[in-house]
Amino acid sequence: MAVAIIDSGGANIASLRCALARLGCEADLTRDEADIRAASHVLLPGVGAAADAMQRLREAGLERVIPDLKQPVLGICLGMQLLFAESEEGQAGCLGIIEDRVKEMQPDRNRPIPHMGWNRVRTVQDSPLFDAIEQETHFYVVHSFAAGSGESTLATSCYGEEFSAAVSCGNFFGTQFHPERSGSAGSRLLKNFLELAS
């Protein structure tokens, strides 16, 4: 069965496709409901603003399809934030899979925003997503908005305040970091995701 990447309009799909290709997975970039429903695994990437991305999902009729999916779904970066109920970024209503709110991060003298770079990730719940990935491994993150820790938090990271680095809720997973940009650890995480039973 095919792996689908939901075409959410962000420019940054090529690196994810290449990362999957290095794992032997040729993913389809699509916004077609039937293709997405038929996929074994679905990835929801996203770069840009939450309100714009939600608008594009609504135009494609996907804001009701995605929460209804039963196969493993992985949201990356903004894609993870879209799994939440709402985001302060443009006061956007999101997909509502995780009942929490994504907040704007506050800069200070020692903490430039956007937060960009390699950050330690600490897992706080066992999850097959982090299989064979050591505690405190660095992943590459780029963001100005973040979700705090909550019931859905699988892993945390810290930048001034603690934030959710990875989340899960049933068959839905999300990473604030970019596994496709995170070297061998990121590649392992994508492999773990693709090995989840669909």
Partner: protein, 227 residues
């Protein structure tokens, strides 16, 4: 062109955290050439990379980002058309928009130079560096690479005095460039100028400073860094 992909793979394997590719679009047919090699680099790189040089429009940037670059960096075109920064930040988000600044001077009077890719066309003293740093942030720069020209190529260390004064007015990530010659220069710039990253070319290319050794040293010095 032929050796870019293996070089990228070498730096990836040595543990570089990010790569910046400069001035590789010099070809008159730059657009297709750049897109082609950015795609080939994307196929092998699993770390972020930035492309600098030859990007003069939102359309140029779009092609390079779509081909898989994480960020684009602009320098002279931003000085000539500052609104380009606003347009790029609106289109791609500020995290994609890096502004390269070539700064020259001393004794507290540093000014921006342009066209530094071509020594015959380089123009000095355009505007005070601090003023330009503030403007590019207001316009939507997501990161600033400050190349200190007095130190560039000299390998006597980064200009930590200048970098520290820019750090104080810079609320986006600041990357130090120009002057790295020894392993201690890196710990000094992180400690004294509080930069978010340090860029170097020659010492890595020549193998004078192995990246793995450098990272071990910086971790030992207490700099937070990916092993």
């Amino acid at each position: 062109m032929g050796d870019i992909v293996p070089l990228a793979a070498r730096y990836r394997d040595e543990g570089a955290d990010e790569l910046v590719f400069y001035d590789i679009t010099a070809s008159p047919d730059g657009r297709t050439v750049s897109r082609d090699w950015v795609s080939r680099v994307t196929e092998v790189l699993d770390i972020p990379f930035c492309v600098a040089g030859g990007i003069r429009s939102v359309e140029d940037a779009e092609e390079i980002l779509a081909a898989g670059a994480e960020k684009i960096s602009i320098n002279t075109p931003a000085l000539e058309d500052p609104d380009l920064i606003d347009r790029m930040a609106r289109r791609f988000g500020r995290q994609c928009v890096v502004i390269g600044i070539d700064s020259q001077g001393g004794d507290g009077d540093y000014r921006v130079a342009s066209h530094t890719g071509d020594p015959h066309r380089t123009r000095y003293g355009r505007r005070p560096t601090k003023e330009w740093v503030s403007e590019v942030q207001d316009r939507g720069a997501g990161e600033i690479v400050l190349n200190c020209m007095n130190h560039d190529g000299v390998r006597t260390g980064y200009d930590v005095v200048h970098l520290a004064e820019i750090r104080d007015i810079c609320s986006v990530p600041l990357i130090a460039s120009g002057g790295a010659g020894a392993i201690e220069h890196f710990s000094q710039v992180f400690r004294e100028a509080r930069v978010d990253g340090a860029l170097a070319a020659t010492v890595f290319h020549s193998g004078a400073i192995p990246i793995g050794d450098l990272k071990d040293y910086l971790a030992h010095c207490g700099v937070e860094i990916r092993p």
